[in-house]
């Protein structure tokens, strides 16, 4: 009997749980006999589930260059994520994937200057790309990261940003928070405005992820600066059940986010109906 | 009739009494009329229809319509006025925002009953002295009018309008419908026979939720069967238990509020006699707690919101009918 249907999940063990922000935790997952459950490319997703609680699509936050484990940064939001936030290290979960396309790190992005724009938990899918780029540094041009959040405490992966990314040569990190806060001497203001202030070179390729409203204004700002839609990539999220374009709910027009996405270039999205 | 309704609707639109008209719109064929909202005289003239095949109950649409700005004209058949009243009573419809014109009721026809006779390719249906002349692509067929009467009209409980602002045609009376006959017949069967009857009926259910969504008494914002936190959420009956569960609870949740409009059975794509479940509750309520007709007025306390010190005990169930 054929047992390898993609709908039948594999198992993973949570070996580490890190509290990133008050409502975001990062989970480290390995296969029961060690190593990664499967290989992926930056931007791809996986279906995580606790049987009886729910199943949900999460972007894989760790870079494929990490050969030991996968990581998922998950915001507490609904039924499943609340459960995940309450579990302890050693818990098994079911996992299937990888699903979706990926950021074109080996094709279109190669050799390009990269500008990453992220808001809040939107850093999760981009972190995979950023670390992939850091590990293959010679393949890419300059790297600039603009990342903002509601407050200092809501910056995901703050320690990694400070300790590793900021210390890398050729990587410029610009952080911002929405409102002034004690102990914060960095920039204050919304991400779209900050991007405009920074006035990045229009040669770079942009990767944006964050709340829909942030994406909308960032795109408008980039266009003002002279960026073209073909230079900007984003990653989407909609309700998913199967992960393979068959259950029929995550479509934007004729594209399924789980299969044709989640990564879209803005000129592609422009051809689709505004229903996301 | 249809002409008089269009004329009156146009007048009321023109003089500003109402902003919209809730009625039925002609379809592709002779029988597929759709409930619709009309806003212009031209639209009314071209598309408004009211005939023997406009059986849909419009009252539930008024929940949505009365949330909108302005006043809406609704044409209600006698049975629809009961549903309307019940919704007013439950504060789901703002009475002030509806101008009700009572129109004579059925008997309405059920196109499926015509098709069940093997008549297919239907182009038009005409009632000539209670003989239906059905023009089809395979020639003309005839059948007695009463053999095609919709199930919901077969045991009409009332031709009286319980609420209206004006009437077109004459008001009728509450009828002695004999509507509990089938319930009684089932009650007199043995438990095994009843079980077999309902198993064969309910196992046809495809859980399309048409019975629930069309029901004027089912107006919850979120149904318990759609709510993952309820513990009973289900989308498809994965086991015969879930078929029973859904239909028992559906009927129970409208017990004492169901006006017996018959929409549930009319819309069931699998022809399950769902109204029998509702009628069972109505019959029990009538027998045990005194005759009660939901929607008859907007003041009486609903039987399940009420009690008497000397109500019968639940063991009464053990003392009735066949085992």
């Amino acid at each position: 009997m054929n047992t390898n249907d993609t709908l039948i999940p594999l198992l993973g063990i949570v070996t580490d749980i890190r509290q990133d922000t008050p409502d975001v935790k990062t989970f480290r997952v390995v296969a029961p006999d060690g190593g990664k459950v499967f290989e992926h490319m930056p931007g791809q997703c996986a279906m995580l589930s606790i049987p009886g609680v729910g199943e949900g699509m999460f972007s894989i936050t760790s870079s494929p260059t990490n050969k030991e484990f996968m990581e998922f940064s998950i915001k507490k939001c609904g039924c499943l994520t609340t459960w995940l936030h309450q579990m302890d290290v050693g818990q098994m979960i079911t996992i299937r994937g990888p699903y979706g396309n990926a950021f074109p790190v080996e094709t279109e992005l190669k050799g390009k200057d990269l500008l990453f724009v992220a808001g809040g938990i939107g850093l999760a899918p981009l972190r995979s790309v950023i670390n992939y780029v850091r590990d293959n540094r010679s393949n890419y041009g300059s790297v600039r990261i603009v990342y903002g959040s509601r407050s200092k405490d809501d910056l995901v992966d703050y320690e990694e940003i400070i300790d590793e990314w900021m210390n890398d040569e050729g990587i410029e990190v610009n952080l911002t928070i929405d409102n002034p806060q004690e102990g914060w001497d960095g920039h204050v203001g919304f991400v779209p405005n900050y991007v405009k202030e920074l006035n990045p070179s229009t040669n770079s390729t942009v990767l944006v992820c964050g709340p829909p409203i942030m994406i909308k204004f960032t795109l408008a700002g980039l266009k003002e600066l002279g960026f073209k839609e073909t230079q900007v990539y984003t990653t989407m999220e909609l309700r998913m059940k199967c992960g393979v374009g068959k259950c029929g709910r995550c479509n934007i027009g004729n594209k399924y986010v789980c299969k044709d996405g989640p990564v879209f270039r803005f000129d592609e999205l422009g051809e689709l109906p505004d229903e996301y | 009739m249809q002409e008089a309704m269009i004329k009156r609707a146009k007048e009321l639109l023109a003089d500003g009494t109402v902003d919209r008209v809730m009625g039925w719109k002609k379809g592709e064929f002779a029988y597929d009329h759709t409930p619709a909202v009309f806003t212009s005289a031209q639209d009314l003239e071209e598309n408004f229809v009211c005939d023997e095949l406009t059986s849909a109950n419009l009252s539930k649409y008024l929940v949505k319509e009365t949330v909108r700005e302005g006043k809406v004209l609704a044409f209600l058949k006698p049975c629809d006025t009961y549903s309307f009243n019940q919704l007013v009573k439950e504060h789901r419809i703002d009475r002030e925002k509806v101008y009700v014109i009572g129109i004579p009721g059925g008997p309405k026809l059920d196109i499926e009953k015509i098709k069940a006779k093997g008549i297919t390719g239907i182009l038009s249906v005409k009632n000539e002295n209670y003989t239906l002349k059905i023009d089809t692509i395979y020639g003309v067929s005839e059948m007695p009018f009463y053999e095609a009467v919709s199930g919901k009209c077969a045991n009409c409980k009332s031709k009286k309008h319980v609420v209206y602002d004006e009437l077109i045609g004459e008001d009728g009376d509450v009828l002695d419908s004999g509507r509990f006959e089938m319930v009684e017949k089932l009650e007199n069967m043995t438990a095994q026979e009843r079980y077999d009857f309902w198993r064969s009926e309910l196992s046809k259910c495809i859980r399309c939720n048409a019975c629930r969504n069309v029901c004027p008494a089912c107006t919850c914002e979120k149904c318990v069967f759609d709510n993952p936190s309820s513990g009973v959420e289900n989308k498809a009956a994965a086991d015969s238990f879930e078929e029973n569960m859904f239909h028992i609870i559906r009927a129970f949740h409208v017990a004492g509020r169901c006006t017996d409009c018959g929409e549930c059975s009319r819309v069931c794509p699998q022809n399950i006699p769902l109204h029998l479940l509702n009628r069972k509750f109505i019959k029990d309520i009538n027998e045990l707690y005194g005759t009660y007709q939901a929607g008859e007025n907007t003041t009486d306390k609903a039987p399940l919101n009420d009690y008497k010190m000397d109500d019968c005990e639940a063991s009464v169930v053990h003392e009735r009918g066949a085992e």
Partner: protein
């Protein structure tokens, strides 16, 4: 463990007991050393009126062979009138279950006060026997939940 082929059928009885009267009645029957079958599993509810028809159905789904609902005597409800509503509700629900051909002896409502420990034990004995005679619940069970 030995499996006895001829083992007598042991029904699973779910008893919803109101906190103020019937649960205390069950307690009293215990302190009085009165016997009632271990088949009875008690679920304490604040008032008999808390028991939604779905509770009864779900008990059957999850393997109960009989469901009994116990509350304060009419007139004695801690919340004044809860049990009056229960009475109407359950009468209609049981009538419907009967109408669908579900054995009527699988369901019961009984009023048990905090002082009626003996009545509680007697009721449970009697009800368990009645359900035992009916055999396993097959008409309102969920096959997925049947114990292998």
């Amino acid at each position: 463990m030995q499996v006895n082929e001829n083992k007598e059928f042991q029904p699973l009885i779910v008893a919803f007991c109101c906190n103020w009267c019937s649960y205390a009645g069950a307690d009293l029957s215990g302190t009085n050393r009165l016997n009632y079958p271990t088949n009875v599993k008690i679920i304490r509810v604040p008032c008999s009126c808390r028991v939604n028809p779905m509770f009864i159905l779900r008990a059957f789904q999850r393997g109960a062979d009989g469901v009994i609902l116990c509350g304060c005597h009419p007139g004695d409800c801690h919340y004044t009138s809860g049990n009056y509503f229960t009475r109407r509700r359950m009468t209609l629900l049981f009538g419907m279950l009967d109408f669908l051909g579900i054995e009527r002896d699988r369901t019961r409502v009984e009023w048990v006060s905090a002082a009626e420990g003996a009545k509680f034990a007697a009721t449970m004995n009697e009800f368990t026997e009645a359900v035992r005679k009916l055999g396993p619940n097959r008409r309102l069970e969920d096959l997925r939940c049947r114990k292998q």
